[in-house]
């Protein structure tokens, strides 16, 4: 499987070349390098995936590159190709390449063109490490590596105030999750003497003792590992309580939001959970936690999204919410569906972000939907593709989002009616905030400045082509999942070897139930659409009507994003900073140094009394000292 190496190394090569090129002024060379490396990666990946998945019964393939560390802490750099990583590989290289293509148009006037593609290529390499790694370490290298690229790209427009702040926040908050990942690595090594996924999971699966009798920090070994990996996932995949970095991450260029903060990096946590699904299946309590956190995140983020004015902020909260759905699927034990939603979401959310980028591009950087409107005529391609994306995410059949979201809700229904109900309301909210944004952006009167109106234009083909490709994907990829009323489920069939089956969890609804669930989903989506249409057909004034319907305090709460950032600042950041200042000013300078100065003062006093015999002069002491050493050395040589 040397092709895996090529797939991973090509983007790294591109990053290095573009990094060097960024110091010169050769845009064409940068474009070529960026597209050739990621395109090459895509072609090899497609070929590899095709060859692999068309085998009769694909077995996991491992490729060891070299030994990173040797005994007693033996860790190797190695890759694993199995159905799960094959699917992720497809998502990353496919969406990744088209976003690179889109970026050549979107970023064409930016002075940091070379730097941008160096970062973006580096990201691709790191993301591929993350998903192809056969052990926790390689995944972790990718995991923090994509975090670095995310940091660099969020802060890409470093001259402004917001991006450097947002990028720092993203990295630090992610580090809290990474901390848990690190602990998981230590524990895995201490108990299994390996970090290889397959060896760890095998050891747990075959050794009942490891499952039941090893308690660490009060949890069984699988439960503790599951908990730690989930904490790691809440950082990277923006779940409660660590989601706060993702909305701020929108300070980066829009294609970055599409690639990193929607389609690929933020789904890494979902991937990790599925990769280690045995641990979770053995720990019902942790799965319960996953369910609660995810449904709360999905609902909360969706409710925030209905009151935002920034087009990218709406999409960011939407992403948080959709990631919540993915974790919800995992929480109720439907790991296949979780990855399926990851798969469909990658298409329609990347499409929506790129579409918003096309809008922002046309509006000369404007992101406030209050100042848009009526863009339908000016941006026909963007309009239609954006509509497809909106319908897909809202869950209208037969678009991709319908299949995956409906499957999640069906599994949740089996699990708990209350959580299903929250999930259903969230689906309605999703439809509402998406159409609110869609209508305010594309319909009605243009509300921008005259200058902006003159500038309005459809984006170049390098940008609209990726839009169409992703739109086609958003429209049709749903069909490879489970088709309602049938037993046809290609996606599930591909993924099934990866998911451990402790008990049969497939949904066996009778037709009536299935009809009911689908009807409820569609009704929720329709209600959202109709409500948005009714409220916002006259433009942004709809927000006033929304406010009067849901009451002013609640509206303020949603608009203020539940004031979570303010809460964190008040409860964590400020106290921590105060503590740090106290440690420095009080402990370091006053107590420790004060004691020293006092001691020195006393010594000085005593030496002053005894200075009849000694000079008390440091320089003289040093002189004696040096003379002494010279004499000693002279003695040796002689």
């Amino acid at each position: 499987m040397t092709s895996l190496i090529a797939i991973v190394l090509l983007p790294f090569l591109g990053a290095v070349v573009n990094g060097i090129l960024s110091f010169s002024n050769s845009k064409r060379a940068v474009t070529f390098t960026a597209l050739a490396t990621t395109g090459g990666s895509l072609v090899i990946a497609l070929y590899t995936i095709w060859r692999y998945l068309t085998e009769l019964s694909p077995q996991p393939i491992e490729y060891v590159l070299y030994k990173w560390l040797e005994k007693p802490l033996e860790i190797q750099i190695s890759f694993l190709l199995d159905p799960l990583s094959a699917i992720m590989l497809f998502v990353v290289t496919f969406v990744g390449f088209f976003i690179h293509l889109y970026s050549t148009g979107y970023m064409s006037d930016d002075e940091g063109y070379g730097r941008y593609f160096a970062y973006l290529n580096l990201f691709m390499g790191m993301m591929l490490l993350l998903i192809l790694g056969s052990n926790l370490l390689v995944t972790f290298i990718g995991w923090e590596g994509v975090g670095l690229c995310s940091y660099l790209l969020i802060g890409f427009y470093y001259k402004q105030d917001e991006p450097p702040r947002a990028s720092m926040k993203a990295f630090v908050v992610n580090r809290i999750g990474d901390f848990a990942f690190l602990i998981a690595i230590f524990i895995s090594f201490a108990h299994f003497a390996t970090l290889e996924y397959r060896e760890i999971l095998n050891a747990i699966a075959t050794n009942q003792q490891l499952q039941d009798t090893v308690y660490i920090f009060g949890l069984t070994l699988p439960a503790l590992l599951a908990l730690l990996l989930f904490i790691a996932a809440t950082g990277k995949s923006a779940q409660l309580p660590l989601y706060v970095w993702l909305p701020d991450a929108m300070a980066g260029p829009t294609p970055v939001s599409a690639l990193i903060h929607a389609a690929t990096m933020v789904t890494a946590g979902v991937y990790l959970l599925t990769r280690t699904n045995l641990l979770f299946q053995l720990s019902p309590n942790i799965l319960k936690l996953v369910t609660l956190i995810s449904v709360a995140t999905a609902f909360m983020a969706a409710s925030i999204a209905i009151a935002q004015r920034d087009i990218k902020k709406v999409l960011a909260y939407s992403t948080v919410s959709q990631l919540g759905y993915m974790f919800l699927a995992a929480g109720v034990g439907a790991f296949v569906v979780s990855i399926f939603h990851l798969f469909t979401h990658a298409f329609f959310k990347a499409l929506l972000f790129l579409g918003s980028g096309s809008v922002i591009h046309a509006m000369e950087g404007e992101q406030d939907i209050y100042k848009m409107g009526g863009l339908k005529q000016h941006l026909p391609h963007t309009y239609i593709t954006f509509l497809i994306g909106t319908l897909a995410i809202a869950g209208f059949p037969p678009l991709a989002g319908f299949f995956s979201k409906d499957a999640i809700l069906a599994y949740t229904y089996d699990h708990s009616k209350a959580i299903y109900f929250i999930g259903l309301i969230t689906a309605g909210l999703t439809s509402f905030y998406m159409f609110r944004m869609f209508i305010l952006t594309f319909h009605g009167e243009f509300r921008g400045t005259e200058e902006q109106r003159k500038h309005l234009h459809e984006s170049p083909p390098s940008m609209t082509l990726p839009l169409w490709i992703l739109a086609i994907g958003s429209a049709f990829v749903g069909f490879i999942g489970k088709i309602p009323f049938t037993h046809y489920d290609l996606f599930g069939k591909i993924l099934s070897p990866v998911i451990v089956k402790l008990e049969e969890k497939a949904v066996h609804h009778d037709v009536l139930h299935e009809v009911l669930l689908i009807t409820l989903s569609v009704v929720a989506a329709l209600l959202g659409l109709v409500a948005a249409k009714v409220l916002y057909s006259q433009g942004p004034t709809g927000d006033e009507r929304l406010k009067s319907i849901i009451t002013a305090p609640l509206y303020t709460l949603l608009k203020g994003k539940y004031f979570v950032d303010e809460l964190y600042t008040f409860v964590i950041v400020t106290p921590l900073r105060t503590t740090a200042n106290i440690l420095w000013r009080f402990v370091d300078q006053l107590i420790i140094d004060g004691t020293l100065h006092l001691a020195a003062g006393i010594v000085q006093l005593i030496s002053a009394l005894g200075s009849f015999t000694t000079t008390g002069n440091l320089r003289n002491y040093m002189l004696y000292f040096v003379i002494g050493i010279i004499l000693l050395i002279a003695y040796t040589v002689g």
């Binding site: 990173w68 923090e144 702040r165 580090r175 901390f179 040796t636």
Partner: protein, 523 residues
């Protein structure tokens, strides 16, 4: 004249004293011709590096073995009556530190190229003698000799801070001097005591390290002697709460001084623990070991927090040193093979990344005449290459996987966990979060933001030459760490084996020579 013989052959003695020899021509040099002195120093230190690399390679390849062996220079009796002798030896533990030292010295010269503006002659002599002191201390196998080299370092470093330092240089220099002296005097007493007790047990005096390893003392006595040694080492490291000399010394020291201090001098403390503190005193109470582990953890968290609120870039990096070295002592006193390998690697890692950071502060200072965050910002715009190196080094320092710092932290914490200190591992890992906190704040305040200054000059060629090798090594260690760790493993294993053999020996009530075949263990 065995000494002269050693000096004229490739030997440890030559590595140690070559810099001192090279200082002699400087004595008669014309001090006005600074350019020539600079070039001379660069050539000398490069030659020294090549010499040490050559010798290490030679020793490594000699027997065609996998691990770096214990190799000693011939012994020269000195005060035979008291068993004091001139003994140098190198093994897998000291080897990386020797190479780190000789590698960093030419870079120090490059880093001082334009920042040292006066008395180059004296500066050069100080650096050369300092190098002899450092290398000697790493290689001495006689405790008296070790002590002498240890003290030799003190004077040149005092001068470097006191003569070429910033505004409060005298305060910082005296603080450094007194702190170190306060630690080294108890160590001298402990060393003398050891030799005397050996004479009681064996019938003759000895300060030979390997011989002292065969002597076991009553636990209570071990404790007192350990405290004597530990105080000196803990101040050097520095371990909380003995660290307050370090921020002052760093802030006032010139760039070159800061680099040496961070990259090499601090490592003498941690090296001292590995070489002497742990193996010589195996019966020190668990509570004391625990105390040091706790102090290390406090250092990791405390220094990280204090670093976070600094307003001076150099002070931030100085406190980050305390946090990083906390990881090293954590690894050492967890007493596992993995954590020791990690600790040794982390000593080198810290030397590279913090060395680079101090160089970069110096370069910024030369351009803007300030290290204060509120007067800096947006450097990525006029100085992209400097910004690149700053981000790169900060990421290495923050333990980003793929770069060097991560490997050390991973090994230390894994070892700590395996050593049974689970809670300590978790607390230590919190330090990894905090490292991101203060290092990214540093980047935000310096690299990012709007640039309002007028300076446009990116890195000079000599600055690139200083930073580039450091960055390459940081990357290489991150990608292929086993190449750097493997040579040292055998020595670490043996040292820990000797430690555990001594530890498992029944406790004694009076000095006793125990039947332990050091030579065999040390093969």
């Amino acid at each position: 004249m065995k000494f002269l013989e050693l000096l004229t052959n490739p030997s440890l003695t030559l590595i140690v004293f070559f810099p001192t020899l090279a200082a002699i021509p400087l004595l008669v040099a014309n001090k006005r011709n600074e350019k020539r002195i600079k070039w001379y120093l660069l050539v000398v230190f490069t030659a020294e590096f090549l010499l040490s690399a050559y010798l290490v390679t030679l020793l490594y390849l000699k027997d065609g073995i996998k691990y770096f062996p214990l190799v000693a220079d011939p012994t020269i009796p000195w005060l035979p009556r008291y068993g004091i002798a001139y003994r140098l030896a190198i093994d897998g533990i000291s080897m990386p530190l020797i190479l780190l030292t000789t590698f960093i010295m030419p870079i120090v010269i490059l880093g001082s190229w334009s920042s040292i503006k006066k008395h180059w002659k004296l500066y050069g002599i100080s650096l050369l003698i300092l190098t002899t002191g450092i290398l000697g201390a790493f290689l001495a196998y006689d405790l008296i000799l070790f002590y002498i080299f240890w003290e030799v370092m003190l004077v040149p470093m005092y001068l470097i801070i006191g003569v070429w330092g910033g505004e409060r240089r005298i305060y910082a220099a005296v603080k450094f001097f007194l702190y170190t002296l306060a630690g080294s005097l108890p160590m001298l007493l402990a060393i003398l005591w050891l030799g005397w007790r050996f004479s009681k047990a064996a019938g003759y005096w000895s300060f030979h390290y390997l011989e002292l390893l065969t002597m076991l003392l009553p636990p209570q006595e071990q404790l007192w002697l350990f405290i004597g040694f530990a105080l000196a080492f803990a101040i050097k490291v520095p371990l909380f709460p003995l660290h307050t000399w370090l921020p002052d010394a760093h802030v006032e020291a010139p760039t070159g001084g800061s680099v040496i201090l961070a990259a090499v001098l601090l490592k003498l403390g941690t090296y001292g623990f590995m070489r002497f503190g742990v193996p010589l005193f195996p019966h020190v109470k668990e509570e004391v070991i625990d105390l040091i582990l706790v102090l290390s953890l406090i250092g990791i968290i405390y220094a990280a927090l204090v670093a976070w609120v600094q307003e001076d870039m150099k002070k931030l990096i100085a406190y980050s040193s305390v946090a990083h070295l906390g990881f090293v002592t954590l690894g050492i006193f967890s007493m596992t093979e993995i954590s020791w390998s990690g600790a040794l690697l982390q000593m080198v890692n810290h030397g590279l990344s913090t060395g680079a950071l101090f160089l970069l502060v110096g370069m910024i200072y030369e351009r803007f005449h300030t290290k204060k965050f509120k007067e800096l910002g947006g450097l990525a715009q006029p100085l992209p290459l400097l910004a690149f190196f700053l981000v790169f080094s900060a990421m290495a320092s923050a333990g980003l996987p793929g770069l060097n710092g991560f490997v050390g932290e991973l090994m230390i914490l894994t070892g700590t966990y395996i050593g049974g200190y689970k809670i300590y591992t978790v607390i230590g890992a919190i330090g990894v979060i905090l490292a991101a906190l203060y290092l990214l704040r540093m980047l935000k305040e310096t690299v990012w933001g709007e640039y309002t200054g007028a300076v446009k000059k990116d890195l000079h060629s000599y600055e690139k030459m200083a930073l580039f090798p450091l960055a390459v090594l940081m990357l290489l260690i991150g990608i292929i760490p086993s190449v750097f760790i493997k040579p040292s493993q055998e020595s670490i294993l043996q040292t820990l084996k000797i430690y555990s053999v001594r530890k498992n020996y029944p406790k004694v009530t009076k000095p006793l020579i125990i039947p332990i075949d050091i030579d065999k263990e040390k093969k």
